[in-house]
Amino acid sequence: MPGERNQDAGERLLPNGAAIIAAENCPALLTPAEARHFAALLRSEAARMRGENIVAARKQSLTEAVLGEVSGLEHAKDQSGTKHLYAHAHEIRGLAGMAGLSTAGRIANDLCQYLDALPADITLPDPMTVELHVRAIGRAARAPWEAEDVGTAVAETLNRLVARNLTQTRSAVEPVHDAPPEAAKPDAP
C-alpha cells in the first residue's frame, strides 16, 4: 500500500487499525527555514501585486474566453439535455471572476447550482428559468458596465425564481402518500 515505506518511521497505530504518519515523518517540500522564507514571500504585498499584474495582463484574453463560453451556452440551451449547458456555465463561473466579469460568473454559478439541485429523475430543467439565466449571463458578460448597476438585483430575482421552480418541481415528483386506511380514520360524527 502507498506510504508503507514509512512504516517504521514514527507511525502511530490507532485503535481501529489505521496509522498516522506524523508530518515530520512525511517528505517535506522545503527545509523549515526555507519554508518560512517562501511562505513570507507568498503572503507579501509584493507577490500579491505581481500576481494581480499577471491576471490584469490576461484580462482581455480571459474576457474573450468567457465570451466564447457564453456563445456556447446560448447554443447549448436549445439542445436537448443539460450536459453542454452545464459545461459552459461551469467554465464561465470559473473564468469570469478573473476577467472582471463577476456578475456573469455569479449568475453562471447560480445556473450550475440550479442544474445540480434538480431531482435526479428530472431530465429537463424549466426552459424559462434556463432562458432567463442565459440571457442575464450574456448581458452581464457583454455589457459589464450595466451589470455593475443591475447585476445584483437580476441575480437575486433569478435566485427567487430558481427557489420557486425547485419547490414546484420537487413537489411534483414527490410520491403521493396513500390515504390512511378507513379503519384508522376517526369515526364520523
Binding site: 489505521a18 517540500l29 514571500l41 507568498l42 503572503r43 445540480d116
Partner: protein, 171 residues
C-alpha cells in the same frame, strides 16, 4: 527530497481549460517556480507525475476522461504511484458540500474555490509549504489527516487514543 531553495520546486497544473492552465502557470512563475508542467486531464496528469516528479500539484475537479477526484485517488492509492505524499491543491468551481467531501476523501490536501484570487492561491501554497499535514493510512484511505482541528470540537466517533468524549455533567 527536501529542496534547499523554493525556486527549485516543480509544480504540475492539471486543468482541461487552457486559459486556466496558462494563468496558473504564469502565477507560479511569478513566485520564482520556474519548472511548471501542464496536463489537460487526470490521465495525462498521472503520466506527468511519473515523468517529472513535481513537488506539488494544482488540479481542477471536473475533467474528462479522468477527473480530479479519480486522479487524486490514483496518486494516493495506486500501487505504482510515484509519490503518494505529494501535496494536491484542488482548484474548482464545484463548492457543493458533497463534492468537497468527495475531494477530501480522495486525499486532497487543500481546496481552492474558483474564481481564484492571487491572494487565495498564494495562501494555499503557503499552507502546504509551511504546515505540512500528517498522513493517515487505513484500508480505505491514504492521504492527509482529514481532521483539521484537534481538541474539544470532535464529537466522535472516538477512533484515536487521544480522543476523549466531552465531560458529561449529570444533574
Amino acid at each position: 527530497m527536501t529542496k534547499a531553495h523554493f525556486d527549485d520546486l516543480k509544480a504540475l497544473v492539471v486543468d482541461d481549460n487552457a486559459h486556466m492552465r496558462e494563468l496558473l502557470h504564469a502565477l507560479l512563475n511569478v513566485l520564482g517556480i520556474r519548472e511548471v508542467v501542464e496536463a489537460a486531464d487526470g490521465e495525462a496528469g498521472y503520466a506527468a507525475l511519473a515523468q517529472y516528479q513535481p513537488d506539488f500539484i494544482l488540479t481542477d475537479l471536473a475533467m474528462q476522461p479522468v477527473d480530479g477526484i479519480e486522479f487524486t485517488r490514483r496518486v494516493r492509492l495506486s500501487p505504482d504511484t510515484p509519490n503518494p505524499f505529494v501535496p494536491i491543491i484542488m482548484v474548482s468551481g464545484h463548492t457543493e458540500r458533497n463534492r468537497v467531501e468527495a475531494a477530501r476523501d480522495a486525499g486532497v490536501t487543500e481546496m481552492l474555490a474558483k474564481p481564484i484570487t492571487t491572494q487565495s492561491l498564494f495562501a494555499r501554497i503557503a499552507e502546504i509549504v509551511e504546515h505540512p499535514r500528517a498522513f493517515v493510512r487505513c484500508d480505505s484511505y491514504f492521504g492527509p489527516d482529514r481532521r483539521r482541528r484537534h481538541g474539544d470540537s470532535h464529537s466522535g466517533p472516538w477512533l484515536r487514543f487521544d480522543d476523549s468524549a466531552p465531560d458529561v455533567v449529570t444533574i
